[in-house]
């Protein structure tokens, strides 16, 4: 699932978490406050209703008790009045006062009753009725009406009887009045009192009912409290759930995605919903995953390229180790490229070295051949020199013949030299000139050989140095090459190094030979030179003395014979050395020609063109 930024349907998700939490807490607090407020207001209302009711009942009770007193007073007063009227000469004023007092009491009682009917009936106080309703005493209102009706009725009957009695007293019919009082006024007064008493007691019933209602209301309050608390809890829990849903769901999704990525599903992305912190984190995770995946792909690509380059380099190395030095590995900026560059450089240097060696070998070969020719020529010249005084030189042919690796042309030349010297026959002057010439020639050869040898020595040194540097390079290549899985290449380089080392050894040997040969040559040449000097001086002496030559000549011949022998041995040595040199050259050439090489100019370009 590739994640995408989606506009949320839930507006909450667009709010920052802080705001959301603040809103949630505020809402929860509001709910709690409302619940507490409802409970408190209900309680307060209930209490105030009860207290109002009780206060009202207290007032009613007081006024009803006052009414009760009025009734009792009326009864007493009318009896007093009858007594007042029973005296022999009743005071009209007293009777009038009694009557007005009784009527005043009756009026007040009427006022009390009317006040009760007007303002104290339960029916006129719906809140009281509703409170009693709650206590299950709804019938009290009708009972009250009944009781009030009974009170009114008895009061009216009593008042009628009382009025009649008053009238009787005032008119003087005291007997009638007395009987009326006893038969009607007193019973009706008792009835009225009883009815009023019932009304007063009814108040007690109301108050106990209010108590019932209050307990019912308390129960209701408890229920309300529970319900409100439950509602508040549910609402708060809902708010909490809502908010946690906005957090948890997306965090869970985030976790799923991260788990999936952990398990390798790199294409999974978080769906970004809303604009809050989690959305931000999700987007960041997506970006991070994108970056990581990009890096992974890049690394993979680089590794493939490196492997490819390494394979190329490896094949190049194989070609090089097979002897073909014309390889040019592709160069790059990566480690393999750098390695390839070093490899190219090494191969170039090696190529250069091999070329140089080949050239040197060629030169050495030429020089050796020249030297051999010169020796043969010298030998020939010597032979001819010796044959003039003596028939043959017994030493020369076998010494030359003794050399096992004498080539055909050399042997031929030898015999030609011999025949030349056999068919010569020159005078001493000629000999002298020949000796001088040969000495000069010898000197020239010696100088030439010394120069050549020094040059060779230099070349040798150079070669040695370059071979050392090649070895070093190869070794450093070997260390540069990654150790893992590059054993074969390392082996290859190792073999290359070994080969170069063998070459080096060979060169060292060659150098030593050269040194030896040079020393021998110098020694030989010096002795030849000395001999020649002696020969020249003796021949000069011979030519100066002329006729007295014979004994001296014989000596000269003898010394010359000796000398010739010495020269011959030297020449043989030289010849052997030269032959050895040629052999070595041959060996070196064969080992050098196993390489296929770039032309020198190209090598130069490659080496310098890095």
């Amino acid at each position: 699932v590739v994640g995408s930024r989606r506009v949320s349907r839930n507006l909450l998700l667009d709010l920052p978490i802080t705001w959301r939490l603040t809103l949630g807490f505020l809402a929860a607090a509001l709910v709690a406050v409302i619940a507490a407020g409802i409970i408190g207001i209900q309680r307060e209302q209930s209490l105030s209703r009860q207290s109002d009711f009780y206060q009202n009942l207290l007032q009613i009770n007081t006024s009803l008790n006052i009414g009760n007193t009025y009734l009792l007073l009326m009864n007493t007063k009318i009896h007093d009045m009858l007594i007042d009227a029973s005296v022999p000469v009743p005071s009209k004023e007293t009777l009038q006062a009694d009557q007005s007092a009784i009527q005043g009491l009756a009026t007040r009682y009427d006022a009390v009753a009317a006040n009760y009917v007007q303002s104290d009936l339960l029916d006129q106080h719906p809140d009281q009725v509703s409170l009693l309703d709650e206590g299950g005493h709804a019938s009290l209102a009708s009972q009250q009406l009944t009781l009030v009706g009974s009170t009114q009725r008895t009061w009216r009957v009593f008042r009628t009887a009382q009025d009649a009695a008053l009238k009787d007293i005032l008119s003087g019919s005291l007997t009638d009045a007395q009987s009326l009082l006893r038969a009607q006024v007193e019973p009706t007064n008792a009835d009225a009192l009883s009815a009023l008493h019932a009304l007063i007691q009814f108040n007690q019933r109301i108050s106990s009912s209010v108590r019932d209602a209050a307990s019912v209301e308390e129960q209701n309050q408890i229920i309300t409290t529970i319900v409100a608390a439950l509602c508040a809890f549910l609402v708060i829990a809902f708010i909490g759930w809502l908010i946690s849903k906005t957090l948890v769901q997306r965090l869970r999704q985030l976790r799923h995605v991260t788990r999936a990525v952990e398990q390798g599903q790199l294409d999974r992305r978080v769906q970004v919903i809303g604009h809050d912190e989690i959305a931000g984190v999700s987007a960041s995770v997506n970006d991070m995953l994108d970056t990581i995946v990009g890096l992974l792909e890049e690394t993979e690509r680089q590794r493939a390229a490196l492997t490819n380059a390494a394979a190329h380099l490896f094949s190049d190395m194989r070609i090089v180790s097979a002897g073909d030095l014309r390889v040019h590995a592709p160069v790059g900026d990566d480690p393999i490229g750098l390695l390839a560059n070093a490899f190219n450089f090494t191969v170039g240097r090696f190529n250069h070295f091999v070329l140089h060696t080949q050239t040197t070998i060629e030169q050495l070969d030429t020089l050796s051949r020249q030297q051999r020719k010169h020796i043969e020529e010298f030998n020939l010249a010597l032979d001819s020199q010796v044959q003039t005084p003596q028939a043959t030189s017994p030493l020369s042919p076998p010494s030359i013949q003794a050399t096992p690796r004498t080539t055909g042309p050399l042997a031929g030349a030898d015999s030609a030299v011999r025949s030349d010297s056999q068919y010569g026959g020159e005078p001493a002057f000629t000999v002298q000139a020949q000796v001088r010439r040969s000495r000069e020639q010898l000197l020239q050869v010696a100088r030439e050989s010394a120069r050549r040898l020094r040059f060779l020595q230099d070349i040798n040194k150079q070669v040695y140095q370059s071979s050392a540097s090649v070895r070093q390079l190869i070794q450093s290549n070997g260390s540069l090459t990654p150790a893992s899985g590059r054993n074969y290449e390392a082996n290859r380089s190792q073999s290359l190094v070994q080969e170069v080392q063998a070459l080096e050894t060979l060169l060292a040997k060659l150098n030593a030979e050269w040194q030896q040969m040079q020393d021998g040559l110098i020694k030989g040449l010096t002795s030849v030179d000395t001999m020649l000097k002696v020969l020249v001086s003796s021949s000069v002496r011979i030519s100066d003395t002329g006729p007295t030559l014979s004994s001296d000549a014989y000596e000269t011949v003898l010394s010359s014979q000796e000398f010739t022998n010495f020269v011959r041995s030297f020449l043989q040595e030289m010849y052997a050395l030269t032959q050895r040199l040629i052999d070595l050259n041959q060996e070196m050439r064969t080992s050098a020609t196993s390489f296929r090489l770039n032309p020198a100019s190209e090598v130069q370009r490659k080496v310098t063109g890095r």
Partner: protein, 328 residues
């Protein structure tokens, strides 16, 4: 870096997933506890009443009380309510002697005679009374003065004086314990004594039987015990109907009181409340009582009418005061 992010994320996710349950469970259990403790408090139920009640007194109220008691016993299996007659004053006396639980009475308890402050009046119905004559008397109506003349002064002793057959009038007088008699004296005779055949036992049924079997007899009884063996006659042309009583034009009626001494007993309260239920009130209506609910405005606010009537009664009676009975 990758593994660090991963571990951080997994840590956060684990914490997030385990947040709600602990607090929620705690709160829910708290709520349940509060709920249960709140529910156990109101435990008093009215359904399992038991015990027995003794009701005695007014024979006028007796039929209604008996019917109500049997209904009440049907509803509450463990309750026994016994209803006896005996007359209103007997009921009140039995009550103040703690012999019965409820004293039925047609009359008010005189505070001087029954000074117990706990004596509580429960008015359960209105009982109309009516004058009755034997089947041989053809008179349909008597004025209040004619009744006074028949019962108290003795001025009228033959039915022919009031437009009936030539038959001597035999007034049937109830004993002093009769609440009906007291009412009759107060509201019809204006306190005068009665003359005539004094019955020995206070029973509405006896009155009815006596009047039915005595030629020219006249009596009075509660409408609840009236049957076809006697004839009801009007007073001042007004029959004992609810309308006439409510309008105040018919004075011969009384409240049916059930006096108690101890209102705190649940059974007593329940029975008294039961008497006021619509069920019993309807029953009362069928038994010729007047439900007190129908008497709501009787006398309240219409004071003029009844007052005048009572006045006239007293005024007329005050001129002719005969024998006085001091028994009351």
């Amino acid at each position: 870096m990758d593994s660090l992010t991963r571990s951080l994320l997994s840590c956060v996710i684990k914490r997030q997933g385990r947040r709600l349950p602990v607090g929620g469970a705690f709160l829910i259990s708290l709520m349940l506890f509060v709920l249960l403790s709140g529910c156990t408090q109101p435990g008093v139920s009215a359904s399992d009443l038991n015990g027995h009640l003794l009701v005695a007194g007014s024979t006028a109220l007796q039929p209604l009380a008996t019917a109500a008691a049997s209904l009440f016993q049907q509803q509450h299996a463990h309750v026994h309510v016994a209803v006896k007659g005996g007359g209103s004053l007997l009921g009140l006396q039995s009550l103040t002697n703690h012999q019965v639980n409820i004293g039925d009475s047609d009359v008010y308890a005189d505070p001087a005679v029954y000074p117990d402050p706990n004596l509580t009046d429960h008015i359960v119905a209105v009982i109309p009374f009516t004058m009755i004559v034997g089947p041989d008397v053809t008179v349909k109506s008597l004025t209040q003065q004619e009744i006074i003349d028949i019962f108290s002064t003795g001025a009228i002793r033959n039915w022919k004086l009031v437009g009936g057959p030539n038959l001597p009038i035999v007034p049937v007088v109830r004993p002093v314990t009769s609440g009906t008699r007291a009412t009759f004296r107060k509201y019809i005779l204006g306190g005068r004594d009665e003359i005539g055949t004094l019955l020995r036992t206070d029973s509405s049924q006896t009155v009815r039987a006596t009047v039915a079997h005595t030629p020219g007899a006249i009596g009075y009884l509660a409408l609840s015990v009236l049957d076809s063996s006697v004839k009801a006659i009007a007073i001042d042309g007004k029959m004992a109907t609810a309308q006439n009583i409510e309008s105040g034009s018919y004075a011969f009626w009384g409240y049916e009181h059930m006096y108690t001494l101890d209102d705190s007993a649940p059974l007593l309260t329940a029975f008294l409340d039961f008497m006021l239920t619509p069920q019993i009130q309807q029953l009362a209506l069928r038994m010729s009582y007047i439900p007190i609910a129908d008497m709501k405005l009787a006398g309240v606010g219409v004071s003029g009418h009844g007052n005048e009537l009572a006045h006239s009664v007293v005024l007329t009676s005050s001129q002719e005061i005969g024998r006085r009975d001091e028994n009351l």
